[in-house]
Symmetry: C2
Subunit: 220 residues, 2 copies
């Protein structure tokens, strides 16, 4: 039996967690400089201040690092959107619903543009041999469900046709925003969210969605 105080295991676990966090933060920094596919464990080790083999105490492989960056990215984006939803006030009109969907979509895209490394992993497949685990992908599905329930609320209020909350509509909305992210990251990577050629299309794309699903239509 050990003579160490009972608190020791907790301290150890905490330090270990800190090491894991530092490795991941550093890995993201490296990827930001060389592209997601160019991650290099030697460089990560150098910056963290350890030798490459030490990294294997925390991650069994390079793929495991990718998977954790991917998973944390989706968790953070999900939390970012949930926080937006909490902060957003209630919606009282069709126009308010449109504004709300615009702002929510902007929050979604903004996070991606401001976290380009994570976004590359989340929206592209830039790393040969790396496929995210299903668990890591779960928050992406949760986010889709969140969008669906927001739209369902607008439908219930009579501001959108029922079809607006169906799978295809939700997916179309997500797909359009992922197009914005993808085009912005690949064609104009140096621009920020506020001055991007593609991010500025968000209100327009939302208007298209609303015009199509609006209940105030003269066409069948």
């Amino acid at each position: 039996m050990s003579a160490e105080p009972a608190v020791e295991p907790d301290r150890r676990a905490r330090r270990r967690q800190e090491s894991i966090d530092e490795i991941l933060t550093t890995a993201v920094e490296v990827m930001a400089e060389v592209g997601a596919g160019g991650l290099n464990l030697g460089e990560v080790a150098r910056r963290v201040g350890v030798r490459p083999p030490s990294l294997y105490q925390y991650f069994p492989s390079k793929s495991a690092i990718y998977d954790e960056v991917f998973a944390r990215g989706w968790r953070e984006l999900e939390e970012h959107i949930r926080a937006f939803d909490r902060a957003a006030g209630p919606v009282h009109s069709a126009g308010g619903a449109r504004d709300r969907l615009r702002a929510g979509s902007a929050a979604f895209v903004r996070w991606a543009i401001e976290h380009p490394v994570q976004a590359q992993l989340m929206f592209w497949r830039p790393v040969p041999g790396f496929e995210p685990s299903p668990e890591a992908f779960a928050p992406a599905l949760a986010l889709m469900e969140l969008t669906r329930s927001t739209l369902a609320g607008f439908v219930a209020a009579g501001w959108l046709r029922p079809e607006a909350a169906e799978d295809d509509a939700v997916r179309a909305q997500t797909t359009a925003m992922s197009g914005v992210i993808s085009q912005q990251l690949s064609n104009e990577p140096a621009a920020g969210f506020d001055d991007g050629l593609y991010t500025r299309l968000i209100p327009l794309l939302i208007d298209m969605f609303f015009d199509h699903y609006s209940t105030r239509k003269d066409r069948p």
Copy 2:
């Protein structure tokens, strides 16, 4: 002065071109198996039946191979769409215009899904250190112009509002389709164009575009 017949240089140039084509075709095959970022010149050489150094007689670097695949991809896609435009008959109604935009967009996305390696290079940035040359990018701009002029025709016929042919509208349309391509390639890479979860959204996305820019609107 050489004693060879004057026709010789042509033959040599033709054989050289055939070698270049074979290298590119093989490189695309390899990338299809390992991902665009995983291209490996040794494997290309092995399949072509030469030693790796011989490849350098045809391409000065690995990046040059990427750039040529990228450039040919855009040229082929441009030609694919021009052929579609030639084959498509004249449009006589707003409904016909909608169908035409649907079919053209589908042709665009279909090519990308059926050429996933090229599409990865054209719509993502999967290769660390590779940025396409401006010349290679030119057909992408030509394609955008092609879309713009199609939409301008619909505007001139009175089927769409003038804004439908403005830069933001054209870019929004392109962006939505690139979202379809990106999502399909990353989330459901094994599906074909005809059974994809995302490719099926094309008609819906086109309807959104048309509903927004239609002249038959009861809203200002």
